[in-house]
C-alpha cells in the first residue's frame, strides 16, 4: 500500500512537470499552448496588413509565421493598438510584438528584444500636389506622426521649431489625415512611407533620414523565448528563407 502511494506521488509529480513544460517542441512556455501569439498593429504596410481573406500578412507576419514554424508552433495574430502594445506583452496578452518596432534603449528597459531583423530609416511623405518639400521647409506647417514612435521623436528633435507636430494613435489614421490635409506631411518609417508612395501616385516621398534604426521582436523582459526566437531567426537567415521574404516585399535579399 505504501509503495502504491509512493508510485502515485511520483506519477503525480511527473504530470505536474509535464503540465508546467506545456506541449510543443519549444522549451519556453507561450501564452497559448502550441501557439506563438504575436501582437501587431495592423495595418502598417508592408509589414502588417490584411490579406483580403480574413487573415493577416506582411513582412512581419510572414517572418513571425516562419519563426513559429521553426519552434513547432502555430502563429496567432492579435491586432493590437500601438499605444500600450508593449504592456500587452508584459501582461501576458501575447508572446511577442511583431509590429515594425524599432529597438530603443528606452523600450529595452522593460522588454527584451530579439536580434534585429530589419533596417529602417525615417522619411517624410507629402501629397504629390504639394511638391517635394524637405523637413527644413516645414516651418509653419503641420507634421503628422504616430504617438510613441521613433518618428515622433525624430520630428520633435529635428523639425523646424515653428512646425506643429500632431500625434495620432493609429498608423492608419496618418494617411487619412494627410489625404484630408489635416497635416501637411507624415514623418514615419521609410519602408512604410516608401511603400505608400510606390503604390499610390497621390503621395510623394519627399525626404529621407538615415537613423540607423533596427526593428526587433519585443518579448517579456528576460523571457526564455528570446533565445529561441534568435535561434529561429538565424536558422531562417541561413536557409535563405529570410532572404526570400525580404525579396518578396522589398526587392532585395536584405
Amino acid at each position: 500500500m505504501k509503495r502504491m502511494t509512493k508510485l502515485g506521488a511520483l506519477l503525480f509529480a511527473l504530470m505536474l512537470v509535464a503540465a508546467a513544460c506545456g506541449g510543443g517542441t519549444t522549451g519556453a512556455a507561450t501564452v497559448a499552448e502550441g501557439k506563438l501569439t504575436i501582437c501587431s498593429e495592423i495595418p502598417y504596410e508592408p509589414f502588417e496588413m490584411e490579406d483580403g481573406s480574413g487573415g493577416y500578412t506582411g513582412f512581419d507576419i510572414e517572418l513571425a509565421d516562419a519563426i513559429a514554424g521553426e519552434l513547432g508552433l502555430d502563429l496567432d495574430v492579435k491586432n493590437t493598438a500601438w499605444d500600450g502594445i508593449l504592456l500587452e506583452v508584459a501582461s501576458g496578452g501575447c508572446d511577442m510584438v511583431a509590429s515594425a518596432m524599432t529597438i530603443t534603449a528606452e523600450r529595452a528597459e522593460n522588454s527584451s528584444f530579439s536580434d534585429p531583423y530589419f533596417n529602417a530609416g525615417q522619411s517624410l511623405l507629402v501629397l504629390t500636389e504639394s511638391g517635394s518639400p524637405k523637413l527644413a521647409d516645414m516651418g509653419g506647417k503641420t507634421i503628422g506622426v504616430q504617438s510613441n514612435t521613433t518618428g515622433e521623436l525624430y520630428a520633435q528633435e529635428n523639425a523646424p521649431t515653428d512646425a506643429t507636430i500632431k500625434s495620432f494613435e493609429a498608423g492608419e489614421d496618418l494617411f487619412l489625415a494627410l489625404t484630408s490635409k489635416d497635416v501637411d506631411a507624415v514623418l514615419q518609417d521609410l519602408p512604410v512611407n516608401g511603400f505608400r508612395a510606390q503604390n499610390d501616385a497621390n503621395f510623394t516621398l519627399s525626404d529621407t533620414f538615415v537613423t540607423d534604426e533596427e526593428y526587433g521582436f519585443a518579448m517579456k523582459k528576460d523571457s526564455d523565448l528570446v533565445a529561441e526566437v534568435n535561434k529561429a531567426l538565424k536558422a531562417l537567415r541561413d536557409s535563405g528563407k529570410y532572404g526570400d521574404l525580404h525579396e518578396k516585399y522589398f526587392g532585395t535579399r536584405g
Binding site: 510613441n148 500632431k166 500625434s167 495620432f168 489614421d173 484630408s180 497635416v183
Partner: protein, 266 residues
C-alpha cells in the same frame, strides 16, 4: 437542525442575508489573497509616477477635456434646442427633418461621427473645420445635440398644456409664449437629465484624440495613455481616471440631489 421549511419568513431572510455576506467576504478574501499588493501598487498607484503627472495633467490634459466639453455642451444645447422645436413644430417638414436628425445621430457611434467629421468630410469636400479643437468639438456638439433634442422635447412636453393655452389667450405669440413661459419651465424640469448628458459628454471627449493631438491639445485619456506607454506602467492612466472622478463625481452627486428634490416637490 431546523429544516428550511420550518423556518419563519423572517428567519429565512436573516439566514439568506448572512449567507450572502459570508460568500461576499469569502470572495473578497480569496481575490485579495490572490493579488500581489506590492506589484499592484507599484504598477497602478506608484506615488512618484503620480506626482510626475502634475501639473501637466491639470494645466494641459484636464483643461483640454473641459474645453472640448464646453464647446460640445454649448453647441449641443443650441442644436438640441433647435431640433427639439422642429420636432414639436406644426410644420410637417420640420418634424420629419428633426426626427431623421435625432435617429441618424443616435444610431451611429460617436467615434464614427468624429472620424466622418474629422477625416471624411474634408476628404470629400476639401472643406476643413479650422482650429485645433474644431473638428472634435463640432462632432461632440452635433452628437450631444441629437441626444439633448430628445431631452429638451421631453421637458417641453412635460410642461402642462394649459400653460401654452393661457399664454396664447392673453395675446402672446407662439414664439413669445415658448421663450418666456414654456422653455424656462421645461429647462427647470430637465436640469438633472441635462447634467447627466454633461457627465456623459465629459467622458466622451476621450474619443476626440483619434483626430490627432499636438502637445497642447492632449485631453486626459490621451495624456494618461501616452504617459503610461512611455513609463511602462498603468499609474498615469489611473491618475487620469482619478482626475475624471474629481470632475464628474460632484456632478453625479448633484444630479442625485436634484432628482431627490424634484421627487419630493412632486
Amino acid at each position: 437542525m431546523a429544516t428550511w421549511a420550518s423556518l419563519s419568513r423572517r428567519r429565512r431572510t436573516i439566514l439568506l442575508r448572512r449567507i450572502a455576506y459570508g460568500v461576499s467576504i469569502a470572495g473578497i478574501v480569496v481575490v485579495g489573497r490572490g493579488i500581489n499588493w506590492g506589484d499592484l501598487t507599484n504598477s497602478m498607484f506608484r506615488p512618484s509616477l503620480m506626482a510626475e503627472q502634475f501639473p501637466e495633467i491639470v494645466t494641459i490634459a484636464a483643461k483640454n477635456t473641459l474645453i472640448f466639453t464646453f464647446f460640445g455642451f454649448t453647441g449641443g444645447l443650441v442644436i438640441g434646442l433647435i431640433v427639439a422645436l422642429m420636432r414639436i413644430s406644426q410644420a410637417t417638414p420640420f418634424r420629419i427633418v428633426g426626427s431623421i436628425f435625432v435617429d441618424v445621430i443616435r444610431g451611429i457611434p460617436l467615434l464614427v461621427w468624429i472620424l466622418i467629421i474629422g477625416f471624411g468630410i474634408p476628404i470629400a469636400t476639401g472643406a476643413r473645420i479650422p482650429g485645433s479643437y474644431g473638428a472634435g468639438s463640432v462632432a461632440l456638439a452635433i452628437v450631444a445635440g441629437g441626444y439633448m433634442a430628445e431631452t429638451i422635447r421631453a421637458g417641453i412636453e412635460a410642461v402642462p398644456r394649459g400653460q401654452m393655452e393661457a399664454a396664447r389667450s392673453v395675446g402672446m405669440t407662439y414664439s413669445r409664449a415658448m421663450w418666456t413661459i414654456i422653455l424656462p419651465q421645461a429647462f427647470r424640469i430637465i436640469i438633472p437629465p441635462l447634467t447627466n448628458e454633461l457627465v456623459l459628454l465629459i467622458k466622451d471627449t476621450s474619443l476626440v484624440s483619434v483626430l490627432g493631438v499636438t502637445i497642447g491639445t492632449m485631453e486626459l485619456t490621451k495624456f494618461g495613455r501616452s504617459a503610461s506607454a512611455a513609463a511602462f506602467n498603468a499609474t498615469p492612466l489611473i491618475t487620469a481616471a482619478l482626475v475624471y472622478l474629481i470632475i464628474t463625481l460632484p456632478m453625479i452627486r448633484a444630479v442625485a440631489v436634484l432628482e431627490k428634490r424634484a421627487a419630493q416637490s412632486r
